[in-house]
Point group: C4
Chain length 377, copies 4
């Protein structure tokens, strides 16, 4: 399948892609239908998938003027790491589905762009190969039934040089993504979760369960709870990031437990259909957390304006998932680099046009009118 | 007509239907146009019919995380009866229109799925045949001009083993469902309300009145009022459920009178066109009622996410009508079972993905942002 | 032109028209394009024309149950006159454009239906011919430059038996209705404002002004102000109704001056484009006026549900304009009668399905959730 | 290019254009695709471009009645200059792109219509030629890296007779207008910023930057800040108008610094994509500024109703940009005059139909319900 799409990939001039929507359009044509659906799809009737975009579009920025922006910069730090912009690449499984070079290509693009790459536990390249690109790398973990496997993963991630652990907490089971069941999508030979020892693989779906859902059911541990954060803390000295928080009460508790960062996320609309959009959930989370930890956000970011909206609503930084995948699918490292170049330029433009010299200015002086009336708790 | 649609019914593989929208699409093709309209239609310009869906889509769930959901269950009780999920099948008249086995097939599917079947007073099968399927059955009543008929119905329902009486209070007359007048739809020979002795039948419509409207006008008693609840209470020891309440003042009064449960409902958009959606009405009803009685809800539920939204907005359980009909029309008991299987699985997924171990967790810890700004009373 | 459309008119079976939308569709085909546009059009970009419908559709009724509605009635009184429903026919000019029998046919339909007919000052039939139908008739007046003409009109209206005077206050000039300018629409020979002596006629439009706008400019007096209400009061003992009020401060002042009724109206979207919808303006007007005078409402009413919504929002009664015209255009008196029959039946249905015995019940017990958040003054 | 579109221009009868939408339609056909996109386009995904219109359409006017409007006038003053209406023509660069007579034609139309013409710093005609038309002219300035150039411009503007200086503060860099990058649009030979000495010109774009963006980057000074207002104040005695303010805190500071007027503007959606619409930002700006300075507004005004909405929301006057361009492109001075004639007539109609004798009445007595719930600061 990968070989087949190569011609399409080479037919597009990257410099002609002027925004992430352009990249999406081009990538959509470059991917086979089942892969395209695997990437684009959400859970259930995809209500939340749509809501993520609608909510961000409804946010309105109130920019500032008459501030010297000649030295405008998008640089910031994320958990102490300097980055060129408040944008990370979100963890995504099996990136060799998108391109033969997979994770290595996307991580290399991140290294080149000076942003953090979050390696999925389900990467199809080894953590060592990923960090060898020079990318500042975080390692994402799902909670596995096999606790020894978890320990192994932590060791591998640490020895490969990963700088933080991201624990995804919104997948006690996989959301029903109907597109994958309908297409019968599964992993082709040669692509697997190479960082897992003896993984059961993603091969057998059924009428009611995609191969990915089956894999999740067999290997993920749905008993993950607050007390398990202790277990994790005892086994690694890396900063711990909790991904998938939407409810302020959970954010409050995580902050009290000393988590280093939260990611406000609905998993790109791929888990609970009907869940609130990230952009709507973000302000209440930031309000309860205050400055006790960083608050990142993902699900729906498609432009530099969206980045600035998220910052103004309370985010420390954001993550992009699908856009990076589109770039990777289109032209490997170069395609991903184009995506990062576009969103960095757009973010810089939005920061400057909001009358800010940098990200800190956005936080302190730009107002974002929220997508919906605020909720009191 | 039933014979004609059989081929279409057999052409669909039930396991390929992955959500209730799929079932609707398939059933729409399997039913004759007039029957399809009879099922799908609402009153007047169908404003409320559409509002039921729009309101539920606008509700946003704020899920919880880091709660052990390994033993996630959708089980609950409804008026003391254990059920596998907080979903009942709503009363619907003349189910033999959908399938030769009619009520028996749908009740059998409920028995198999472990959910409560609410038998319409206008069932085309006898109460005894229905309860013989093993389904936990409630009996729904309209208020008839012939009070002796009411007494008979109560006796038949009780002796057949029905466990509760549902009094529908939103049909003092039938809403003008224009589709039925336009199609001239009426009951075919062999289908009638077999639990009514000497029923006038549903045969004669006119230019301004469908046959169903005429039947309602002739047989239903529009004088039904609060004092009649006493009459009913004196004639049965079964729990009494009042179906069709939207106004908090009515809910308050019903609770004070000791009703066992309320059903917040606009009759699926088939009675007062312009009535508020059930999802919008629900929170205010629950607020005034508190825990004095159970509050059920119907009108617009089309997925497990909708079930969880309703629970989070204050419902004890919900009822589904049209989706069960679609399954029945498509493949009798097996089709109805598929619908119940889908919504149960979706509900379990939504409960787990909302970070809950069960329905009680949803009630206590998940927040649902309402469809519209709340109304104060 | 009228002759040409007669065949089309006879081709439609009135009994097949089941709601006002049906009547609109049929009438749209029966009228020549320029007349159709004259009736359907609004001012400017027709923002307010659309808003009238949108606002009413957004209003949601919260009905009551368990109230004996066996004797449900839509009867009410309007300024002391008993009517069969809280619906009047709004003043509309030159009704012989719609049908050769014009005002006489529409008034006769009102007489038959037991509702009030409001005769336009610009009627193409004499007031005497109109009241001869037996209809309870009000006489609508624009404020004319020729004050003697006003006195004559009052005398004619009084001697013909009109029971109230409606002073339209929202036409100091005519709104720019672009459709009429584009079509060059004007009055055909034989149709004129027969109650005006020596009227200049509606014949000469231009590139920037329809013939109707020119007529208004030449004959209407834009100096109409509060003090003129005194002039009118001194010249007639009939009740005075002020039509075209949207602002609560104006409603307050009118009530203080002892006006008998107000009509909340934006002239069917034909005057100030961008004006608030009547349904949004109504609650604030009723709130300041209280019970000091009746508050009627028009602009956008298209069903019995709309009637009940308006009542629940504070209206005493409503007026319908275009729907009556459609009926008249389609089949003269019989067509208009069909429209009145439909809306009366729909209103009765809505009253009963809202759990009310009559209009007073709607006012006291049904809640209408407003189209927009309320405005404080 | 101009020659080619001349035939199209002559084919349209100006008197057949009855509203600004008509003018837009006609102009759209008369301009080459790249020029049409240059005019119509906004930054990024054009969210703000669309929001400007949506917000104005959502504003609802609550008009007054029974006020003598026989002497209704749209006259007002802007910074002490009498104008025939509260509408100015906004600064737009290179108007000879639209028509060979360019700025001279548009200024002449303004002179004829009695409204203020704001000459862009990037005019393709000299300030002297512009003021020679007799138009009351303001001179707009961007902040240039070459401060001597700024001094020269001020001198030229003053000696040409310009009456105010408009400092545009929302272009520290140009927004990414993708349409221009895609079309490769640039200035044709013979069109340049003739008021700038030794301008680098608008000739060289690239894959990621339009020629206009490059010009801005090379010549505009992004260090513009509050202190520079002092520099400007010291070099001219003309009134100073700050254009591009959306945030109340900036408005507050500008008012404190004694600026003569503010223009609430998002540059027609061409700078920060995602910025709040002008109509939403206006009320909060007026509230903090009070009467300390005039508050003008642009971005999205397309009718006289929009003018009245803006006034009622707090604007002193408004500016129109694209509509004037459309008129110019269509038929030079005559086309622009038609646009000004239309909006003046529409404004007068809206003032009169809102029950007002003039602009002051609108400010004091008409209420505009805002596009969105108000924001507190």
């Amino acid at each position: 399948m990968i070989a087949e799409i190569s011609p399409a990939r080479t037919a597009v001039s990257l410099s002609s892609l002027l925004c992430l929507d352009d990249v999406e359009d081009a990538a959509t044509h470059a991917m086979a239908a089942d892969l395209r659906d695997f990437v684009a799809g959400g859970a259930g009737t995809e209500t939340t998938l749509r809501a993520n975009r609608t909510a961000l579009e409804r946010v309105r920025l109130v920019p500032r003027v008459l501030n010297d922006v000649s030295a405008c910069s998008t640089e910031t730090t994320v958990l102490g790491t300097s980055t060129t912009m408040p944008v990370l690449v979100a963890p995504m499984a099996y990136q060799r589905l998108a391109h033969p070079e997979g994770e290595r290509a996307l991580a290399a693009a991140c290294a080149g762009a000076g942003v953090i790459y979050v390696a999925s536990m389900l990467s199809s390249s080894t953590f060592v190969d990923i960090t060898a690109t020079g990318a500042s790398t975080w390692c994402q973990l799902y909670w596995l039934r096999d606790r020894g496997q978890m320990t192994n993963l932590l060791r591998r991630a640490e020895s490969a040089g990963c700088r933080a652990v991201v624990l995804t907490v919104d997948v006690p089971r996989m959301g029903r993504r109907l597109r994958d069941i309908r297409s019968g999508f599964t992993l082709p030979a040669g692509i697997s979760a190479v960082n897992l020892s003896g993984d059961v693989g993603v091969h057998d779906g059924s009428d009611s369960e995609s191969a990915f859902m089956a894999h999740t059911r067999l290997t993920f541990d749905p008993s993950l709870s607050w007390s398990d954060l202790d277990w994790l803390r005892q086994r690694t000295s890396l900063p711990i990031v909790v991904k998938g928080v939407l409810h302020p009460d959970d954010a409050q508790r995580a902050a009290e437990l000393g988590v280093d960062a939260l990611i406000v996320s609905n998993h790109g609309g791929r888990q609970l259909d009907g869940a609130v959009s990230s952009a709507e959930a973000l302000p209440a989370v930031r309000e309860v957390v205050g400055d006790r930890c960083e608050v990142l956000m993902d699900s729906g970011i498609r432009s530099g304006s969206d980045v600035v909206k998220a910052i103004a609503l309370g985010a420390s930084s954001v993550l992009i998932g699908r856009p990076a995948w589109w770039g990777l699918a289109l032209a490997g490292q170069a395609g991903a680099a184009r995506v990062l170049e576009l969103i960095r330029q757009e973010t810089e433009d939005a920061v400057a046009l909001a009358g800010c010299r940098g990200i800190a200015d956005v936080r302190s002086s730009v107002r974002a009118l929220p997508a919906a009336e605020s909720w009191s708790w």
